[in-house]
Amino acid sequence: MTPHVVLRVVSKLLIPLIIVYGFYIHFHGEYSPGGGFQAGVVLASSIILYALIHGLDAARKAFPPYAARVGMALGAFIFAAVGFVTLIFGGDFFEYTVLHPDVSHGAGQHIGIIAVEIGVLMTVTCVMIAIFYAFSGRSPEIPDGDW
């Protein structure tokens, strides 16, 4: 159907790697440069690559625009909810120490940061994808033939 066999095969090889690398950046962000923002962009780039090679409709089928909207909101919700959970545990807002009794190793801090970063990851991924969909799905107001 499409002549771009090389592109299709290579992208199918690359996309899983990109996703794994994105998660690596995310979870290693605690010890090395990285974190939710960078990982989110890498993850979104995998979907964007898919859309570039297989077309926008296929990408929309794989990752529906509504899912992007839900993901954005859910990520922000997770971020804010961590703050509310620390309140419920009796601490101040975002006082991660209360999340885990092991204070000397800062276990609560680890848990809190990872939870917050998951929220960031979701929001950044979905926002990047939504921006891409918004721009690529936009039909020109004046059709090309009318110029």
């Binding site: 909101a73 859910l74 309140l87 101040d92 807002f93 975002f94």
Partner: protein, 508 residues
């Protein structure tokens, strides 16, 4: 931590952060929902909860005059981010959340009229984020955090203004204009904060105030102040930096204009007060010089030039937007005096201006829903067809002029008093000239409302104003009257705020 009077103690202890976090977290379900009604309900409940927290904080600061400090993440200030509430921002938070609730009640009929059904819940979601950001700006005690909240509040605001594109495509250019100007303003602010950080090594405002007392002659500090003043001046639409405002107010959806006119520039104005009087010591020469020789002349120029520009507008909302620029000049004039009486008059005018512009823009929103009225000549005969709304509009306009027994009179009275105490006769003259100009531009609208007969064919189109608009509209209009006659509560709030701004500047 102060014990609450309103909320249970467990909640009262966290009221500063809940005020910001509740609208933020509620914006996420609103973004997912498909129906506008549910989005509206969520937005209203978020604003109401924020209002509860604001009332709680306000009462707590009133009760013992204490400063409420809340350490985010349990990191004690000055190392961590601190939320700090005193007499100054407690009043502002009350105004902000109160205005948000009233605007939201007005929003339901107005948004259903102006925004496409599939965008409504996203619209409310953006509003909640904006509210959360504005509350954060007002409450935070950390200079860099303030910048972050400034951006959080601004970005949804650009989107909200652009939503007016359904009715008028010019909303898009206005929103883009505001985006560019707002981004420049925020950049200037953050450069200024960077200079301060360079000079002092701290970002906490109370800590900055303590360290800056001895750094009068430091050129870096002076540069920092200049950048902060210009950056915030853009956000607050001070006279030569106001170019984004008329377009943004005129083409945004009615609800957004009501909310922006009552809150957004006010919050920026609050930050200017906070930095000029609290963070920088007012007794340091360069702050006084900047206020006297830069802010005051610009304020006076704004009062007169913007009022004169308002005279020539044909679009009612554009007219009122120019009038807003002029009114911002009044507030800046009070601030420029640099005295406690001046700041107090400025804060009083800030509150009063929110009351009157709230009424005016809400009434215009009601006209727009019923008849699609945008231009002055289209207002003909509306007084007969929508007497309640037109009466409320008239009250707001009288208040804007400064007729006795309205709040506008009270704040001009205090402003003139403060100017006389300073011996600034020219400022008194400017206030009077600007008021006369206000008489003229309000007259143009009021004559069309009440005197000109209804054009043929209009009468058949008569529609009742929805109750959800009438209730907040009439409430606000009556507030203009009530606080104009019984001015003591507002004057008291303004004086407490000014005292908090100026006395805290000694680095406490």
């Amino acid at each position: 931590m102060t014990v609450g009077q309103w909320l249970p103690t467990a909640l009262a202890a966290h009221a500063p952060v809940l005020l910001v976090a509740v609208p933020l977290i509620l914006s996420t379900p609103a973004a997912i929902l498909r129906t506008g009604r549910a989005g509206w309900a969520i937005a209203l409940s978020g604003a109401l909860l924020a209002l509860l927290c604001a009332v709680e904080l306000f009462l707590a600061t009133r009760a013992d005059g204490a400063v409420i400090s809340y350490a985010l993440g349990g990191w004690p200030p000055p190392f961590g981010i601190e939320f700090r509430v005193d007499g100054l921002n407690a009043a502002l938070l009350l105004l902000l959340t109160g205005a948000a609730v009233l605007a939201l009640i007005f929003a339901r009929p107005s948004v259903e009229n102006e925004i496409n059904a599939d965008k409504r819940s996203l619209f409310y979601s953006a509003f909640l984020v904006s509210l959360s950001g504005l509350a954060g700006v007002a409450i935070t005690g950390d200079a860099f955090n303030l910048f972050v909240f400034l951006e959080i509040s601004s970005i949804p605001t650009y989107a909200l203004i652009a939503m007016g594109a359904n009715r008028d495509r010019r909303a898009l250019t206005s929103a883009f204009n505001y985006l560019v100007m707002g981004a420049i303003g925020a950049t200037f602010f953050v450069i200024g904060v960077g200079f301060l950080y360079m000079a002092t090594g701290t970002l906490n405002m109370a800590d900055l105030a303590r360290l800056l007392v001895d750094m009068d002659g430091d050129r870096v500090v002076r540069m920092g102040f200049a950048f902060i003043l210009v950056g915030l001046g853009l956000k607050a639409a001070l006279f030569p930096l106001h170019l984004w405002l008329p377009g943004a107010y005129a083409y945004a959806p009615s609800f957004v204009t009501v909310f922006l006119a009552t809150t957004a520039t006010k919050v920026a104005f609050y930050v200017i007060i906070r930095f000029s009087f609290d963070v920088f010591a007012i007794d340091s020469g360069f702050v006084v010089n900047a206020l006297t020789y830069v802010v005051t002349p610009l304020a006076i120029a704004g009062m007169i030039v913007a009022s004169a520009q308002a005279l020539f507008q044909t679009d009612v909302r554009r007219l009122l937007a120019y009038s807003s620029v002029a009114q911002a000049g009044y507030m800046m004039l009070g601030l420029g005096m640099g005295s406690q009486a001046g700041v107090s008059a400025g804060v009083l005018h800030l509150i009063n201006h929110a009351l009157m512009k709230g009424v005016l823009f809400m009434a215009l929103g009601a006209f727009a829903i019923s008849y699609g009225v945008r231009r002055i000549e289209n207002c003909k005969g509306l007084g007969m067809m929508m007497p309640m709304t037109a009466s409320a509009f008239t009250l707001g306009a009288l208040s804007l002029i400064g007729v006795p027994f309205t709040v506008g009179f009270i704040s001009k009275f205090y402003l003139i008093q403060a100017a006389l105490a300073q011996g600034w006769i020219f400022a008194v003259a400017a206030i009077l000239i600007s008021s006369v100009l206000a008489v003229f531009y309000c007259y143009r609208i009021l004559v069309n409302l009440w005197v000109t007969p209804i054009p043929e064919g209009r009468r058949d189109l008569a529609q009742p104003t929805p109750y959800l608009i009438l209730v907040p509209l009439v409430g606000l209009a009556l507030a203009n009257l009530v606080f104009g006659v019984h001015a003591a509560p507002l004057v008291d709030i303004a004086e407490t705020a000014a005292a908090a701004a100026i006395n805290a500047g000694t680095g406490s």
